[in-house]
Amino acid sequence: MGFYLIQTLNAVAFSVLLMLCGLGLSLVLSLMNFVNLTHGASYLFGSYVAVVWLGSGAPWWLAVPAAFLAAALAGLLLDRFPFARFYGRNHLAQVLLTYGLSVMFADLMRLGFGAEIRSPALPDLLRGVVFVLGMPFPIYRLVLILAGGVLALVLWYLFDRTIWGAVVRASVADRRMVETLGLDTSRVFAVVMAIAAGLGGLSGALGVGMLSAYPGLDEEILLHALFVVVLGGLGTFRGTVAGAFILGFAMTFARVWLPEFAGFLTLLAIALLLVLRPDGLVAPRLRQV
């Protein structure tokens, strides 16, 4: 009983981590119809920033905002060049551009942060466990679940329930119309790109306590994020959350029950779901025709 309760909590924590990774990717896809494969690099960048921050002795609770800001700044620069001229293009062009950039960033980060595995010095506050029915569960993961939940709510409110979100969506649907209203759409896009990249960095800072940071992690995270987002239905917010939880539970329980086939089974589940629901779990608002 306690065993399965904890395994469920494990699955939830992992799902939240997947959701965090997918959110930034999903945001630019749903709002700007832009495929950003540099997202994994944003994540890893955030992880490194957090490691360096925590190693420097600065207040630990500022590590996450610092990672957010650093990655957001990088996103802002990327938006100016070269992303902006690819916003209206087809997915293929975007995939190629951002994949090439991610190869470059991976090598640059290796140059800057070294090839070694880096881990953060976590504050003692986050290191304890709680016992649930006699089984240990780490406080760090509880914090992760909480942070992920709050973040998801904030984003959902911001983009689905405020005028601000409406402006972004309108900018995508009919750019010229919004511009006649006197709004600068390129600034809107820049802000969204910065937030999305920042989210990548933020999830990197939150996840680094679990996954560490090392060259190659960017690709692993990108793959997970892509699975989550595509499974959910290209960049719908609810879909990303659903995709993350399905993948998180599938991966966790495949490892509990059939660990030797876990990799294959996870892929099979993704393929089956996408064959049954070719547009993902939640049909998107916007689609490229």
């Binding site: 087809n90 995939v95 190629l96 950039l101 190869v103 140059l111 793959l223 892509l226 595509v230």
Partner: protein, 309 residues
């Protein structure tokens, strides 16, 4: 112009075959074989705008089957080639059945997923595939014809074999694209909805193109083990598919022959530039991004870039 470039290639290949050393011939054979697989990917990417991240699974899957046949049954050139083609086509069919309902990002992910399933199989089915260690001890290749038998294991004969395969595959691909099905594939890239309104089943068209490309990739894969005398799971991993796309873009999408140029460029940079700097990946990435940014039509229009020698 294109014709001239090809006329130049033939004497070059001849010179290499006559005077090249063992190492250079093997290297050239690897470029030609990998290039053939990349060219088959160009049929999908360049003509059908179907960006597959699972193409290495077709190529590498055929390589595994070919290596296994050679190790366990001592198969010669013809059976190995046929088995490779069949494997490539079969895997492409499965991949296509799963992925051709979708386009763009969905297609990309579904081909990636199917390709990774092949990888999982190659990685975990240790008793057959050797798992992470791969297959080695591949016997020399020979051509058996009516009782007679010619060894094909020398670097020179492997090079000539690879060159023959590349040329044949190139001619086949050209005739495929010039034929009604190839024209329809181009049309499906431009206006899939309109094409459906003409009565074409776009899915069937994409499936046929994938199976055709899979056959070529499979033929190339069948020869690969004999050049390297080794087959391992890296060959079917998605990162190999991504590398193939990088090679394709470097050489020019939609040109067919650009695939060979790009493959050669990539492998040369990887082999030689990496002796001088740890940062060769940065340079490849930069070159790639510059091409994508400043030659944007390449993705849409075939024949956009003709490399003058």
């Amino acid at each position: 112009m294109r014709a001239h470039a090809w006329l130049l290639c033939l004497p070059l290949a001849g010179l290499l075959a006559l005077f090249g050393g063992d190492y250079h011939l093997r290297f050239a054979a690897e470029i030609l074989i990998t290039g053939t697989a990349v060219m088959s990917l160009d049929i999908l990417v360049g003509q059908g705008r179907l960006v597959s991240l699972g193409h290495a699974a077709l190529f590498g899957g055929a390589a595994y089957v070919s290596a296994l046949l050679a190790i366990h049954a001592g198969a010669g050139l013809m059976p190995v080639l046929l088995a490779g083609i069949a494997t490539g086509m079969l895997l492409a069919l499965v991949m296509g059945l799963v992925a051709t309902r979708s386009v763009d990002l969905f297609f990309l992910i579904l081909t990636l997923v199917v390709g990774q399933m092949v990888y999982e199989l190659a990685f975990h089915w240790r008793t057959v595939t050797g798992g992470a260690d791969g297959l080695r001890g591949i016997p020399a290749l020979a051509l058996h014809l009516g009782g007679a038998s010619w060894p094909m294991s020398g670097a020179r004969s492997l090079f000539l074999l690879a060159a023959g395969l590349a040329l044949l595959a190139y001619l086949l691909a050209r005739s495929f694209l010039a034929a009604p099905i190839g024209r329809a594939l181009v049309a499906s890239r431009e206006q899939p909805v309109r094409l459906a309104a003409l009565g074409y089943e776009v899915r069937r068209l994409r499936l046929l193109a994938m199976v055709f490309a899979g056959g070529i990739a499979g033929a190339a894969g069948a020869l690969y083990p004999f050049v390297n005398l080794y087959v391992g799971p890296n060959l079917v991993h998605w990162s190999m598919s991504a590398t193939m796309i990088v090679m394709l873009v470097l050489g020019g999408v939609g040109t067919l022959h650009g695939a060979f140029v790009g493959t050669g460029l990539y492998l040369l940079v990887q082999t030689y530039l990496s002796s001088f700097t740890d940062r060769w990946q940065l340079l490849i990435g930069l070159l790639f991004v510059l091409i994508v940014i400043f030659l944007p039509d390449g993705i849409v229009r075939p024949g956009w870039r003709r490399r003058q020698a």
